[in-house]
Structure formats: C-alpha cells, structure tokens
Subunit: 137 residues, 4 copies
C-alpha cells in the first residue's frame, strides 16, 4: 500500500487490483480508521455456497493496509490471523482500527460484519512500515 | 469443502468458486496431501504490483481445505494464520500437509512457493470437521 | 478449564497451577467477561529484564479460558495468537471478552495492560468446548 | 534475547529468567537451529492436570527466540501463533527452525513433542531484529 501523493482510496479502488476486481471497495479512510466493503457477486463463493474465506481475507488485508498507512507511509503485510466466526452471505463490511501504529511495525485489527451487522470474521494484521510516518505522541 | 460423492478437485475447480475465478487450480489431492497453484494474471496484484495477500490467502485456504477433507468428510475454516515472507510475483505453488487430522478439528500447514521454489508465504489453518471422517490409527 | 461445581476462580487460583505458581490471579469472572492479573516478581523476566512473553501468554490463556467457560462448560485451548505491542514491566492486567461463545468453539479476545493502562499485548484464543453450555440467544 | 558476547544458552539458562525458573532449559543452539526442553514438575499443570498452555508457550518463545538470534543479533518477539494439537503430559521437547532469518524480521517455526515423540503443539513466532545480523546469502 503506498501513498504516492495520491489519496489511498484512489490507489486501492482502481482496475487490476485483486481486491477491486473482486468487488472490494475502500469506502473511508481517516488517520486511525479505515472502512471497506465486499460487493458480493456470483463468483464470491466457496463450495458451500458461502462467501469464500479468501474473499474475506482479501477484504481484511485491503482495509487493514489502508488503516496502517492512514497517517502516511508505505506498508507491506507481514502476517495475518483471521477467525471465521460464522458462515457469511451477501455483502460484507469491514472496519479496521490500529492496535499500534509504530514507526517500524503497525498492528491493525479488523471486524467484518454482514448486512445484519453480525460479526462474521475478525482478524489482526501486522504491517512492516517501509517509510517513516508521523509518530504517535 | 464437501465431498458430495464427487472428487474434491471437481468440486473446487469449477465456475463461480472465488478461487477458480481468480486463477486458482487444485492440482493434486491424496489422503494427507493437497497441492494447488495460482495462475497469476494482470488482476492478481496489490498496489505495489506484487501478488495481493488476498490471492495468497485464497490459495492457502483452498488447498488447505482440500487437505483437511482428503480423508473424507466436510470442513469449514475456523481460523487461519499467514506469514508473508517475501514479495511474490508470477505463478505460485501451494502444498498443504496436516499437522493433525482429527474427528472434530484438523490443523493444516501450507507453504507457498514461487516458480524459483523460494517460499514466499506460509500458514496454518484450522478446520472444523462437520462429518465424521476416518480416524488416524 | 472445568467447572466441577466449583466457582472458576477457586479452581484457577489454587496451588500447583502453573499460572498460580507464577503470580497470576484470576480476579473477576462473570458470564462473558473475565479479568486477571500478573503479580510481577523477580522471576517474571526475560533476558532483556522485561516481563517474559511466556508469562504474558500464561496470563492470556488463563483469563481467556475462564471467559470461555464463564457461561458453564469445560474447555481446552485449541490455538492462540498473541501480539506483543511494547515491552512490559511490572504488574500486568488482562481483560478477556468473547468474540463468540459457541457450543463447540469459543473465540475470546484479550487485552493486557500495564499499571499505566497502556496496552502491552493483545491476543485471540480459540477454545474447544467439551461439554454443552448454555447457548447464546 | 541478546548475545552480549556470551553464548545464548548461558544467557537463557540462568536464574530469574521466567523460563529457567519454570524448568525450561535451552539444550542446543547452532545457526538456524535451537532445541530446548521443559522439565515438567508438579507446578507445570493446568486445571485439567495437563501441562499448562502457558508453559508450552514459554518453551516455544524461549527456544524460538534463541533460534532467531542464532546467527547473532538481538531480537524481541513481535507475535506468536500456537496450535495445541493434543493434551500434553510430562517432559516436553521443542525444536525451532527458521522460516526466514531477515535483517529486520525473522520468522521461526516450532514443534513441541512429548517423550513419545508425538507432536503436542506447533507454532510460528515473529521477531523484530534489533541489531544487524549476518545476512543470508
């Protein structure tokens, strides 16, 4: 995820991104918060007919990365842990907030909810920060 | 992931699966082992131009789930942990082997390598087994 | 963690428990919430002189398990993910709340703070529920 | 974990370390490999009478950290994921090998076995490397 003097949503919400091409939209970014959604389609499913865990992971990574960069800087995902709490159907909504925004590492938590606002998955993602960013005071 | 009296690859490698529609193919399943690959395309990337972490997560989940069901039964992913070891480009290859194939829970590890056979990501996925499967002896 | 017709704290806060013998006390349990603390001592440290990650993991597991059983039942830890956000010194305080209390699996999140109320670590633990417990409605 | 011009085992196997005081011994370190064990005692248990998950986590963290520093440098644990595969009793043996030894981050996997050589737990730990270390070539 890189800033490149362009707003994060315009970087993320553009063709050829794996996320964008799969119906994922970054809907809001401010320092310390990012939100996005999956517009579920006929190709979002797993063999059970539910939203594929990979689609949920993509939503999580995309929104969490935008949160990690929300105070500037550039980041790459080091690791992710995801808990799939219940089967998911239809559009999904993700909110990401920092556990820590550091100079070298940032840790971001995500909650993914369905249209009924029930949490279907949660996760924690760690990012390596490649460029200096404004430090927490 | 369900067997449904059909071989696992024919269930997974079929239209509308999120994995299939993103170039992921399950290439081999036998009891205690599954392999698959990502045929990388122009839409597989993240904002850095590398393979998106979500595509890697989808490959991991698809192949690991096939491994978890490789002795029969049906499973759903409970949780996943993924480590992104280095940036990835081009086609990726995933191998999944069990840490434990239990009656209620199975734990599967995955390694994802690039065409140069360098590990780019690893992970561990836990599955809840929904139907009885043959027990380890 | 088992109820055994005894309150959870009396089971946990008793001699020979690894947690108890290392200064960990379960201080509060109610349905859907558990709290505990580490009374840090001279033997709580790692080679850097900070609280050892293992002591933090023990605190997390003990309090999270008590939360998982807080509506009854018996549980065993399936998996744990922990993020160490900053070096920790002195007494530590852990709060555990459920992400999901299920009949078969429960997922519990923990936050561990120092005496200045700064989060030093977070985690998510998954428990296999061995006996039926009251279901969420 | 720091080298401090002393061999890693002499740093780890010394009084007041949380690990040492709980019967954990680092038994072998060479570049890219570390081994250790838990000498189980009456105070190593959880309420089920099995080895406490916290003791297993402490063994994992201690041995993995020694592996991360096995080519020099100093490290702190960023995150840990652990899978508890089966209940554990008696002495436990841990082997740690790197998934990646980087200049900034190292990722180490651990397997913990009982005296019958059955795997009882596995894990993956990520370390932030605080001092430059010899790079992989």
């Amino acid at each position: 995820m890189e800033e490149m003097n362009r707003p994060i949503p315009s970087v993320v919400n553009s063709p050829h991104q794996f996320s964008y091409e799969n119906g994922i939209e970054l809907t809001h970014v401010e320092p310390g918060l990012a939100r996005g959604m999956l517009h579920a389609g006929p190709n979002s499913i797993n063999p059970h007919g539910m939203i594929h865990g990979g689609a949920i992971a993509t939503l999580a990574d995309t929104v969490a990365g935008s949160c990690a960069c929300s105070r500037g800087g550039r980041c790459v995902t080091c690791s992710a842990t995801l808990e799939f709490l219940r089967p998911a159907q239809g559009d999904l909504f993700c909110e990401a907030t920092p556990k820590k925004l550091g100079q070298k590492l940032s840790v971001v938590q995500v909650t993914i909810r369905n249209a009924q606002e029930k949490a279907v998955a949660t996760g924690t993602l760690t990012f390596f920060m490649e460029a200096p960013q404004k430090v927490e005071r």
